[in-house]
C-alpha cells in the first residue's frame, strides 16, 4: 500500500490527479501523479532526506526544481539500466519507477561514512594534491582505497547498456533555446515571418518560469496565453517544438548539439525505439532564451535538508501542488524572493519570518507581513539548526548586531538570479558584470546567436516578452525571411531590487558547491595558499567541477574569492565555459556505432560462400576476410593453414583478393602520371602487360606497392594494398589536382566494382581452361608471365586475367564484375573438384609470401626505403618522381641501414616470433647493440620449420651469420641465422612455368 501524499495540496498544480503512479525510493513504496518529477513526488510525500554528500556524507535534501540541482541525485532504475547521478528534479515520474539514494552505507538515515566529517581537516581544498606528497606506500595501501570507498557519487550499472541511441541532423532558420516567455515570444515572431523554427525545451512541459510564477500576458492568465500561443505556433507552417530536448553545445558554423530524451519518461523504451537521440542542428540564427538560475546565499548549515531555493519552493507549490514545508521562512536579498512568500501564503503555509538583507523593505511587503502575522527581520541567516529530519530552527544576525531565532521546518533562500550564460559563452566568450542585478550577462555571443529575456539579464515578464519577440523577428530577418510579425505580447515590468549578499560569515560549514562539498573556508584556504586565479581556484578546490558544473555555485565562489582577495567580482572574472551544458551519456554520442556496428563492415564477394564453408574470418580494416578454412578433424589453425599451403604448391588453390584497392587511370597522360607517382617507369609498359610498382612518400619512405596493368594505350588498372586503398586514392588525387594539373588524366576508384581472386598452383591452367572460353590461349606463349588482358568466360561473361603471382606459384588473378563474384567462386569449386582445388585464406597467403620473401605491411612500416626492402634498383634515374630527392638523403642511403633479410632459428624445432630483437651473438642485449628486429614469421610447410623476415643492420652483407634473437616481452632468447629472404624456389622457375 502506498503512502498518502501527506504533503500534497488538495487542489491545483499541473498534475493529473486521475493518473496515480506508484514508485519506490530506497525500497519504500510511494505514490505520485502524472506530471510529477521524482523530486516533486518525494516532496509531496514529505521526504526531505534524499542523499548523502560527496566527501562528508552530510544529509542532503532537494535544493532546486530544475536541471541545476546539486544535491538530489539518485540512482535511477535497476540492473543494466541503473543510471547514477540522475537529478530527481528532472526525472519524470512513471509507474513503477525505482530510485535509490547515493553515497551512503548501510542506509541513508544511518550512514556510517558520516564519520568523514570528523576527518574533515584532511578533505580541505587541494586534499587530493596534498596527499600526493605523502609517502607512496601510505598512499597506495591506505589512503587511495579509503578515499575511493568513502567519497564519490552513484554506481554505474557495470554491464552493457541495453538501450539504443540515435543521432540525427536538423536544419532551420531560427533555433530557440527555451520555452519561457522570451522563447515563446521569439518563436511567435520568427514563425509569423515564415521562418523554419526549431524550439528546444529541456522540460516536458512548455512555459518555463510561467508554469511556476504565472502572471498576466495580453490581459489573460499566463496559462491561457501559453495554450493560445502553442495553438498559433502549431498552425504556422514550419515551427517545430521539441520538448525533453536540451541544447547543450554550440559548435562552429552554426551547428548546435541537442539531446532529446525520447523515452526517459517511461520505464524502458518501447520496442524498436531509442532511449535518447543526439541532434546536430544547423541553424542560421539562434535565440538563447534559456532563462536564469536562482543563486543561493552561503551560510552555516545552508545544506540542511529543507533549505531550498525560493524559486524551487514556488515551483513545488504552484506547479506540483506539493508543500516542502508547513512553516517556512524566507531569506532573501532581493524583491523576487518575496514572490515565494505570496505563493506560500496562497497555498496555506505558515510564514515563520522573512529575513531580508536589504535595508529597506517595500511598504506593500510590510503590510503583507503585518496582515499575515509574520515578522520581517532585517539581517541575515547565520546558522541553521537541523539534521537529517530537516530544518528545525534558524539563527538570524540582525542588522545592528542583535540575534534572533526563528522556528521553521523549511527555509527558502534567494540570493538573486544568474542569467544562464553557458551557451552564449561557449566560444571562449566571457560574460560581463552587470551592476544593477549583480550578475554576469552575455557580452556578445558566438556568430549568429543572441540572448533574450532572463538569459540576457532582463528579469521582468514584460521585458522577457519584448526582448524575445524582437530577437525572434530579427533572427528571421537575418535568415532572409520577411513579413509582418505583429506586435509583441505585453505584460507588466515588475521591479527587481537587490542588495548583493554572497556569504554570511559564521560558525560551521557553509557550502558553496554542495555537489562537491566545497565550503567557503576551502576558498579562503585556497587564497591563503596562493591560488588566486579563478582557473586555479576551480581546480584546487574542485569548485564547479561536479556534474552540475557549478550552476548554483560558481558565481558565489567567485564573489567569495573576490572578497578575500580584495578585488571586485568582474576583476576576479569567470572560468572558461565549455559544453555540454548538462551531462550527455556517451551512448548518445556513440549512437548506433557500437558493438558490431562500431564501424562499417565490408564483405568480400565470396563472403557468404566462405561462411557456408565454415571459414574463420579476420578483421582487416573494415573488411572481414577468410583467414583459413578448417576441415573436420584438424586440431588447430596451423594444421589447416599447412594443408592449404601444400594444396596450392602441390595442386591448385584460390584466394579472394578483392580487398586490394583498385583504381582506373584513364587519359592520354596516364603513363606520364604513373611515372611521377611510382619510382619505376610505367609509360613504357606494353599494352597487355602488368608490372609491380612501388610508391614513395615525398619524404623518401616507401608508401605503398602493388601491380599495375596496362589494358589500353590510355587505360591503366592500378592496385594498392588493402590497408592503403583509401589513402592512395586521396594521394593520387592530390598529385593529379594539385601537383600535376597539366596532365590530362582521370582517376576512378573501382575497388568495389571488381571481384578478384588469385588462383595459384601448378594446376592453375588446368582449372582456368575449364572456366574460360576454349578460344582463349592460356599457354606460356599465349599468356606469358606478367600478361594482363580481358578474356571471355564460358557463358560469355567478360573477365580480366592477370598472370601475376604473390605465392611464387604458377598463378593468375581473375577479376569479374563484383556481382558475379559469388557465382565465380562457386564455379571455381565445381570446375576445380577434379583437380582438388582448395580455397585458402589470408594465413596461407601470408605463409607463401614469407616463403617467397615478398614484403608486405610489416616491412612497409613507413620507416623503410626502397633499398631497405631490397627494391632499390627499381628507382629510375631517368625521371623525377614523388620522393626521389628526399630518398637520396645521407641517412637514407647509409650503408648501415637495417634492411630486409631472411631469418631462421638455428634449432629447427624452435619457434620464431615477430618483434624479437636482433643482437650480435655473444653480446649482452641493450639499446647500444640492437641491430633490428623480426618483422614477419610463419611456419613454413615447405621447409618444415619456422622462418621469418626481419630488418637487420647490413643484413644483406651478413647472410649466413648466426645472431641472437632477444625477446624480452616474451622472455625468450635463441640463436637465429640470417639468410636469403627467398626461402622457396629462389630461382623463380615455378611462377614462370
Amino acid at each position: 500500500m502506498s503512502s498518502n501524499q501527506s504533503h500534497r495540496l488538495p487542489s491545483g498544480g499541473l498534475i493529473d490527479r486521475s493518473a496515480s503512479l506508484n514508485f519506490r525510493f530506497d525500497g519504500k513504496t510511494f505514490s505520485g501523479f502524472q506530471g510529477d518529477t521524482l523530486a516533486s513526488a518525494l516532496v509531496a510525500n514529505g521526504v526531505k532526506l534524499v542523499g548523502r554528500s560527496f566527501k562528508y556524507h552530510r544529509p542532503r535534501g532537494i535544493l532546486t526544481a530544475g536541471s541545476e540541482e546539486p544535491n538530489a541525485l539518485v540512482e535511477l532504475r535497476t540492473g543494466a539500466r541503473r543510471e547514477p547521478n540522475t537529478k530527481a528534479t528532472t526525472a519524470e515520474l512513471y509507474e513503477g519507477l525505482e530510485a535509490a539514494s547515493q553515497n551512503r552505507w548501510p542506509s541513508l538515515r544511518h550512514d556510517l561514512m558520516a564519520v568523514n566529517q570528523l576527518f574533515a581537516p584532511i578533505f580541505v581544498a587541494g586534499f587530493y594534491y596534498k596527499t600526493f606528497m605523502w609517502p607512496a606506500k601510505f598512499w597506495e595501501a591506505i589512503y587511495e582505497p579509503a578515499i575511493r570507498r568513502a567519497a564519490g557519487l552513484g554506481r554505474a550499472a557495470g554491464v552493457a547498456d541495453p538501450d539504443h541511441y540515435d543521432k540525427a541532423w536538423a536544419h532551420c532558420d531560427v533555433l530557440i533555446a527555451g520555452s519561457g516567455p522570451a522563447g515563446l515570444a521569439a518563436a511567435l515572431a520568427a514563425g509569423r515571418f515564415g521562418a523554419r523554427v526549431i524550439l528546444c525545451e529541456e522540460d516536458f512541459a512548455l512555459g518555463g518560469r510561467l508554469l511556476s510564477d504565472g502572471g498576466t500576458i495580453d490581459g489573460m492568465p499566463a496559462a491561457e496565453w501559453i495554450s493560445r500561443t502553442l495553438a498559433e505556433l502549431a498552425a504556422l507552417p514550419d515551427v517545430r517544438i521539441m520538448t525533453r530536448t536540451t541544447l547543450f553545445g554550440v559548435y562552429d558554423g552554426g551547428t548546435y548539439g541537442a539531446l532529446e530524451r525520447v523515452n526517459d519518461h517511461l520505464p524502458s523504451p518501447p520496442e524498436h525505439q531509442v532511449r535518447q537521440r543526439l541532434w546536430r542542428i544547423v541553424a542560421k540564427r539562434c535565440v538563447v532564451a534559456a532563462g536564469a538560475i536562482e543563486r543561493p546565499i552561503v551560510f552555516a548549515g545552508n545544506d540542511t535538508p529543507g533549505v531550498m531555493m525560493a524559486s524551487g519552493m514556488r515551483t513545488y507549490l504552484e506547479r506540483y501542488a506539493a508543500t516542502p514545508a508547513k512553516r517556512a521562512a524566507l531569506f532573501t536579498n532581493n524583491e523576487d524572493g518575496w514572490r515565494t512568500v505570496e505563493t506560500a501564503l496562497g497555498a496555506g503555509l505558515q510564514i515563520a519570518a522573512v529575513v531580508d538583507a536589504r535595508p529597506d523593505v517595500s511598504p506593500a511587503h510590510r503590510s503583507l507581513a503585518s496582515k499575515s502575522g509574520f515578522p520581517v527581520l532585517n539581517g541575515s541567516v547565520s546558522a541553521v539548526d537541523g539534521g537529517k529530519d530537516g530544518v528545525r530552527r534558524i539563527a538570524v544576525s540582525l542588522t545592528g548586531g542583535a540575534r534572533a531565532e526563528v522556528e521553521a521546518d523549511g527555509l527558502a533562500v534567494s540570493g538573486g538570479w544568474n542569467p544562464a550564460v553557458g551557451l552564449t559563452s561557449y566560444h571562449r566568450g566571457r560574460p560581463k558584470w552587470q551592476e544593477d542585478i549583480a550578475a554576469f550577462v552575455p557580452d556578445g555571443a558566438p556568430p549568429g546567436m543572441v540572448a533574450a529575456g532572463a538569459a540576457n539579464g532582463a528579469f521582468s515578464l514584460g521585458a522577457c516578452l519584448r526582448e524575445g519577440f524582437a530577437a525572434g523577428a530579427q533572427a528571421a530577418r537575418d535568415a532572409g525571411r520577411s513579413g509582418k510579425a505583429g506586435s509583441a505580447p505585453v505584460a507588466e515590468d515588475e521591479a527587481f531590487s537587490l542588495t548583493p549578499l554572497w556569504h554570511v560569515v559564521g560558525k560551521g560549514k557553509a557550502f558553496v558547491d554542495q555537489q562537491h562539498d566545497v565550503t567557503a573556508s576551502d576558498i579562503e584556504l585556497a587564497h591563503r595558499e596562493g591560488f588566486e586565479s579563478v582557473e586555479h581556484l576551480k581546480r584546487y578546490t574542485t569548485l564547479g567541477m561536479a556534474t552540475d558544473q557549478g550552476k548554483t555555485s560558481n558565481v558565489a565562489g567567485l564573489a567569495i574569492m573576490a572578497a578575500v582577495s580584495g578585488k571586485s567580482i568582474p576583476e576576479t572574472g569567470t572560468t572558461i565555459y565549455r559544453p555540454p551544458f548538462v551531462p550527455v551519456a556517451i551512448g548518445a554520442f556513440a549512437g548506433h556505432h557500437r558493438d558490431e556496428n562500431f564501424h562499417a563492415t565490408r564483405l568480400t564477394p565470396s563472403h557468404h560462400w566462405a561462411a557456408e564453408q565454415g571459414a574463420i574470418f579476420v578483421d582487416t580494416g573494415l573488411w572481414k576476410r577468410a583467414q583459413w578454412y578448417p576441415r573436420a578433424g584438424e586440431k588447430d589453425w596451423l594444421e589447416s593453414v599447412t594443408r592449404e599451403v601444400k594444396a596450392v604448391r602441390g595442386g591448385v588453390g584460390f584466394c579472394d583478393v578483392s580487398t586490394l584497392g583498385k583504381i582506373d587511370v584513364h587519359g592520354p597522360d596516364a603513363g606520364a602520371f604513373l611515372d611521377r607517382v611510382y619510382i619505376n617507369t610505367f609509360s613504357n609498359l606494353a599494352v597487355g602487360k602488368a608490372r609491380y610498382g612501388l610508391m614513395l612518400r615525398e619524404d623518401g619512405m616507401v608508401y605503398d606497392d602493388g601491380t599495375t596493368s596496362r589494358l589500353a594505350e590510355d587505360h591503366y588498372f592500378l592496385t594498392t594494398t588493402t590497408a592503403k586503398a583509401g589513402p592512395v586514392m586521396q594521394h593520387l588525387e592530390f598529385c593529379r589536382q594539385v601537383l600535376f594539373p597539366e596532365l590530362d588524366v582521370q582517376l576512378t576508384s573501382v575497388s568495389d566494382q571488381w571481384a578478384q581472386f588469385s588462383i595459384a598452383g601448378p594446376k592453375t591452367r588446368d582449372l582456368l581452361r575449364e572456366m574460360v572460353d576454349p578460344a582463349e590461349d592460356l599457354s606460356n606463349e599465349g599468356f606469358p608471365f606478367m600478361g594482363a588482358r580481358e578474356v571471355a568466360l564460358r557463358g560469355g561473361i567478360k573477365a580480366r586475367l592477370f598472370r601475376i603471382s604473390f605465392s611464387g606459384e604458377m598463378a593468375f588473378e581473375i577479376s569479374v564484375p563484383a556481382r558475379h563474384g559469388d557465382a565465380l567462386v562457386r564455379n571455381l569449386m565445381q570446375a576445380g573438384k577434379q583437380f582438388g582445388v582448395t580455397p585458402y585464406g589470408t594465413e596461407a597467403l601470408g605463409v607463401m609470401r614469407i616463403e617467397k620473401g615478398h614484403v608486405a605491411g610489416p616491412e612497409l612500416s613507413g620507416t623503410t626505403t626502397a633499398a631497405d626492402l631490397g627494391l632499390g634498383k627499381m628507382m629510375s634515374t631517368k625521371k623525377d618522381f614523388i620522393g626521389r630527392v628526399m630518398a637520396g638523403r645521407e641517412a637514407l642511403v647509409a650503408a648501415d641501414r637495417q634492411v630486409v633479410v631472411g631469418i631462421k632459428p638455428t634449432d629447427k624445432a624452435s619457434r620464431l616470433r615477430s618483434g624479437a630483437h636482433i643482437i650480435p651473438k655473444g653480446e649482452i642485449p641493450g639499446p647500444g647493440n640492437d641491430q633490428g628486429y623480426v618483422t614477419s614469421v610463419c611456419f613454413s610447410p615447405m621447409l618444415d620449420q619456422w622462418i621469418g623476415l626481419g630488418l637487420v643492420e647490413r643484413g644483406r652483407e651478413r647472410i649466413g651469420e648466426i645472431v641472437h634473437a632477444h625477446d624480452p616481452l616474451r622472455g625468450e632468447d635463441y640463436d637465429v641465422e640470417l639468410c636469403n629472404p627467398v626461402f622457396y624456389d629462389p630461382e623463380g622457375g615455378r611462377q614462370r612455368g
Partner: protein, 91 residues
C-alpha cells in the same frame, strides 16, 4: 564546422580531410635537396587566416584551397585547388 564545396554545396566537416598549409609549391626536378627539404618539412602555422588544402573525400573528391581563420574557424574562401577542377570552374 561547415564548408561550402564549390561543387557539392554546404557540407559538414566530417566529409572533409585536412592536409594543411597550401602555400608550399613542389619544386622543379632540378631544384636541389634544400628546396625539396623546405617543401616537405617547412610549414606555416599562422594564428589567423591561413590557406589550407582540404579534400572532399566524402563528396566529389576535389582538393580544395580554403582560407580559414585558425583562431575562429571562420572560412572566408573555398576554391578548387589548381587542377582540372579549377579549370572547369573557371569556364
Amino acid at each position: 564546422m561547415r564548408i561550402v564545396c564549390p561543387f557539392c554545396g554546404e557540407r559538414e566537416l566530417g566529409e572533409f580531410t585536412y592536409l594543411g598549409d597550401a602555400k608550399p609549391r613542389r619544386p622543379a626536378a632540378d631544384a636541389g635537396e634544400d628546396a625539396v627539404y623546405d617543401y616537405v618539412y617547412l610549414r606555416d602555422n599562422i594564428a589567423g587566416v591561413m590557406s589550407e588544402h582540404w579534400y572532399h573525400g566524402g563528396g566529389c573528391r576535389t582538393w580544395l584551397k580554403i582560407d580559414r581563420n585558425t583562431l575562429t574557424h571562420e572560412i572566408s574562401s573555398v576554391e578548387p585547388a589548381t587542377g582540372a577542377g579549377a579549370r572547369q570552374v573557371a569556364k
